[in-house]
Every structure is written in structure tokens, then in C-alpha cells.
Amino acid sequence: MRLSWDWRLARIFDDAGEVVDESIWDAGRKASTVAERLSLLSAGRQTDEARRLGERFPEAVATPIHELPDGWWPMMSDTEADLIQDATLLIAQAGVAAASSDPDRRLEHLVGAGDEIRASWTTIEARVIEWAGLFLPEIDLDARRNDIPKAIAVAESLDLAASSLETASSPTGISDSEWVALSQWAKGVVEIEERLQFVESAIREVAIVHLPSTSALIGPLLAARMSTAAHGRERLARLPSGTVQVLGAETSFFLHLRDGIPVPKHGHLFQHPWVSRSPRWIRGKVARMLSGKVSIAARLDAYGGDPWGAAEVELVEAKVADIRKRHPKPQR
């Protein structure tokens, strides 16, 4: 004896394929309730009808309808086909809506937006420095680099900008229209700086909640970047640490595979001061150790472990210090 069911009905068959008993769900058939049933079945659960028949015939073996011989299971009527169509669209729409609340997708856009803004900031900031430098011949462009865009953006004229920067303006001066162009450009730089800060504070906010341990270990911005590079938190958690170590160094890694250049020692992890501010001969060692710790932290985040705090991070920092102490000189 076999028990089979789908969202419409449940049936008990004897070995010859005769329907011994059946229970049809026909009360309140509408798209939303069908959607609930389909989701239930998709998760591997039984319907009420199947449970009822199962209690009535405990000896019946639960058999998926695909395992039944041809022709045993009833076809769908047109109304039923319409119902399952509408219900399926409801489920799909709910699935798409749920994806928008996925922090991985949100971080992906935030990190991408941050990168794009930073890239354009670098370009237009470099121009405003050189451009303003033409009209401020005596200023030290390196020492005052951070002040120049703001001073030009808020000043009403070149002379006022020069005096707020405590320097002299060019004796030939600047035409009104050129000054407007320059100061608007400088305003753009200041605005983009602000926009970058908004993006970064949003990244921090999402990352600290979504990746608490990884954020504690390497900072929320780098944690978000690592997770995005790995295409999501769960995948970062599944990657081997050797891959985590070179995430972000794909170009040189594949050049290594193809042309045999030396293997990259670090990718995005280089951004962390433990790596970038270590002497060059131990960066690989630090990056390898750190990638292992990032893997552990990411697994805690992805699979709901107790998040790391300052105490655990201190232990890792001690390891960095230890590596630095053990290798004071490059190996010959």
C-alpha cells in the first residue's frame, strides 16, 4: 500500500493501483493558500490530508508521486493549473523581495559605490591641487594638500582663498569665469569627500551587524570588502584560508598560474596595517596567519558562533608581534 500526496489531494493506493481512500483539499482554494501549501511541501513537509490518511492507514508507504507508475496520479485541471501559476508567482515575488533584505547584496552595492566614489575623488582632487597651484605659486602643495580644496570651495575670490591659506596669490590673477570654474570644481571635491563618508559609515553600520567577528578582527571596512570579494558571508566562511589570503589579488594569482610569476602573498588583506606596516619579509607570514583567523571569524559570523571581542583580537595581535620578533632580519 502506498500513500502519495501533492498540494491538491492525498491518496492511498493498493498494489494494483486502485484508490483505496482519498482526501481532497478543496476548501478555500486560492492563490495565497496554495502558495503556503507549495512552500510547505517544498520544505519536505506533509499536508493535513496526507497526515490524516497516513493515520488511517499506518501500513501505507509514503511514495513521492514521481515514483508512482505512469497514469496513477491525476492530471491537473485547467483551474488547478491557473492556481498553481498564480501561487508560483506569489512565491517567486516573495523570494525576490526577501533578497533585497540580504545584507550580502547590500554590502555589495555599498562597497562598489565606495570604490567608484573613491576613484573619482582621486582624479578630481589631484586636478584641483595642480590647478589651484598655478594660481598660488608659493604654497607648499604637499603640506597643505588637505586644506586646499576646502579653502578654494568656500572662498569668494582667489585673494580670499590665498589669505585663508596664508599664502600669496599669483600676480597675474585669475579671470572671474575661470575662478568660478575652479571653485566649483573644488566644491565638487568637498562634496564627494562627504559622500564617501556617508557610504563608509553605512558600510560600517551593516558590517558590524552582519560580520561582527570579522569586523572586530580587521575592521568593518576591510571585513565588508573581503566578504564582497568572496561573493557573500557564507562563501567567505567556506573558502579555504589560502584563498582568503589572496582574495583581491586575482590578477597576479592567475598570472602566477599562467606565466609562473611568484605567488601573491596578500590581496585585500594588505590594507590591514598588520600586513602593510610590517617589514616586507614577513608580510607573507602575517597575511597567512591573518587569513586563517579571518576564516575562523567569518565562520563564527556565518554559522552563528559567539562573536569575537577585544580579547580574541589581542591574541591575534600578539601573534603578529611574535612573528615580527622572530624575524627581525630578512632571510638570506
Partner: protein, 244 residues
């Protein structure tokens, strides 16, 4: 104009079904939503109906249909139930819909279109609203159990196009679960996403064909899609009459 070149420019017409035809080098499906393009393809009036060009550049199934040496076409039966794993944005799906559902699903076909990406499902939802018969499922093609409630029994036609490592394993898994006896199973294999082997693409193709034969499927043909889709092959399998 010589007889020969005139023939070429007009093209010989072969009907694969009432809704799909090959004209010259082009493949066309009868538009189930007349006047509407799905992906900017050409529309053309022939014999009083509107047909949509089914481009082998955008659809590996179209490429396979144009290149196969099989007598019968690679298309599912009209009005039947088909399972499509890795539905993407729905270009191929829309043509299969033309073929097996028709206007407002007059043929009563059903295409279960599975994809794991919400971005793709979004496009499929808008497609399905215009084309009843398409059932978009946001699900993982590697977990066939979760697709069960949507399939009323086994399917005669199963297509997988997912381009990820290990795709052969879960193609076979899906076949064991859902393919009917004498049903046809099409595997669009991307050799570039498999682990590199010494024999390159050809070795991937033959490994996949061997794996299909090991589980009892009959491999009818391995169609290389080179020229349209590099490092891709469409492998056509057929379930024997005593399958499962």
C-alpha cells in the same frame, strides 16, 4: 540571379513543429504574445502569423537545434511538462513557451523554470505574467527535492544550463528524480567551469557522456557549440523505456 543563390536567400523552410521552423539558417518560433519582443529579436510575418527569431548566439538550445543530426527535434512535446534548470533571464524559456504553450497557454503546457538568482527570477516573473505556463522558481537546482511540489509526475524533457563546476552530478541527480522513461535530457556543459584536465574541453565532454551512460541514460549526441558558444557542448541523453 541563379537558381542556387535565390534558394539561399529565401531559404528552405522546415517545420519542426506547428510553432517552430527553420528557414534558411534562421530558427523561428511563433510569437505567443504578438507584437512583443522579449530580447530585441527580429519579428517577421510569415504565413499570416508573427514569428520571433530564435538566435543561436543567445540560446544554446537554439544552437543545438540548428546543429543536431537527430531526426527528431530537441524540443519538448507541445502541451507537456518541461523542467528547465538554470533559467537565466528567460530568452530560451520564452521560445520554449512559444513552442509548447502558445497564446495564453492554449496548449496547456507547463515549463518549470528554476534559477538561484533573484535578479533572474525577477525577469522571469515579468515574462510569466505575459506568458502563462511558465512557472518561475527561485530555488537551488542542486536540491531537486525542493522542486517536487511543482512537478506533476515525471517530465519528458529536462534541460540544464547552469555553468558551474560539478554541474554533471546534479544534472544526473535531477534526471533520476524527474526524468520519465523515454524522456529526453539535455545537458549544456560549459567546460571552462570544470576543473582543468589534460584533454581540455573534449575530455570534459566525454567524461560527462560517460557519466550519463553509467547511470543508464543513452547518449544520443554530443553537439559542440563552437562558433556560437566557445567551450560549450550540448549533450543529448535519452532515458530507456525501463528507466526508473
Amino acid at each position: 540571379m541563379s537558381e542556387r543563390s535565390r534558394n539561399k536567400s529565401r531559404g528552405k523552410t522546415t517545420k519542426l513543429s506547428s510553432t517552430v521552423l527553420v528557414k534558411g539558417r534562421g530558427l523561428w518560433s511563433k510569437n505567443a504574445v504578438p507584437g512583443v519582443k522579449v530580447r530585441g529579436e527580429n519579428l517577421r510575418k510569415m504565413e499570416g502569423d508573427e514569428w520571433r527569431n530564435w538566435s543561436p548566439r543567445h540560446s544554446k538550445l537554439a544552437a543545438g537545434i540548428l546543429r543536431t543530426k537527430q531526426e527528431s527535434s530537441l524540443l519538448p512535446f507541445q502541451g507537456s511538462q518541461a523542467l528547465y534548470l538554470g533559467a537565466g533571464h528567460g530568452t530560451t524559456i520564452s521560445h520554449i513557451h512559444d513552442h509548447m504553450c502558445g497564446v495564453e497557454n492554449e496548449m496547456g503546457g507547463s515549463i518549470v523554470a528554476v534559477d538561484v538568482s533573484p535578479r533572474c527570477i525577477r525577469d522571469l516573473i515579468s515574462l510569466a505574467k505575459k506568458r502563462p505556463g511558465i512557472l518561475p522558481l527561485l530555488a537551488d537546482a542542486r536540491k531537486p527535492e525542493s522542486l517536487r511540489p511543482w512537478l506533476n509526475g515525471r517530465v519528458d524533457w529536462l534541460f540544464q544550463d547552469v555553468s558551474q563546476a560539478g554541474q554533471v552530478d546534479f544534472f544526473l541527480d535531477a534526471c533520476e528524480h524527474f526524468l520519465a522513461a523515454e524522456g529526453i535530457a539535455l545537458l549544456s556543459l560549459k567546460s571552462a567551469s570544470e576543473r582543468a584536465v589534460s584533454g581540455g574541453s573534449e575530455e570534459h565532454y566525454s567524461n560527462a557522456a560517460k557519466a550519463m551512460e553509467e547511470v543508464g541514460l543513452e547518449v544520443l549526441e554530443v553537439i559542440r557549440l563552437k562558433g556560437w558558444e566557445e567551450q560549450h557542448a550540448l549533450i543529448i541523453g535519452c532515458a530507456p523505456h525501463d528507466w526508473k
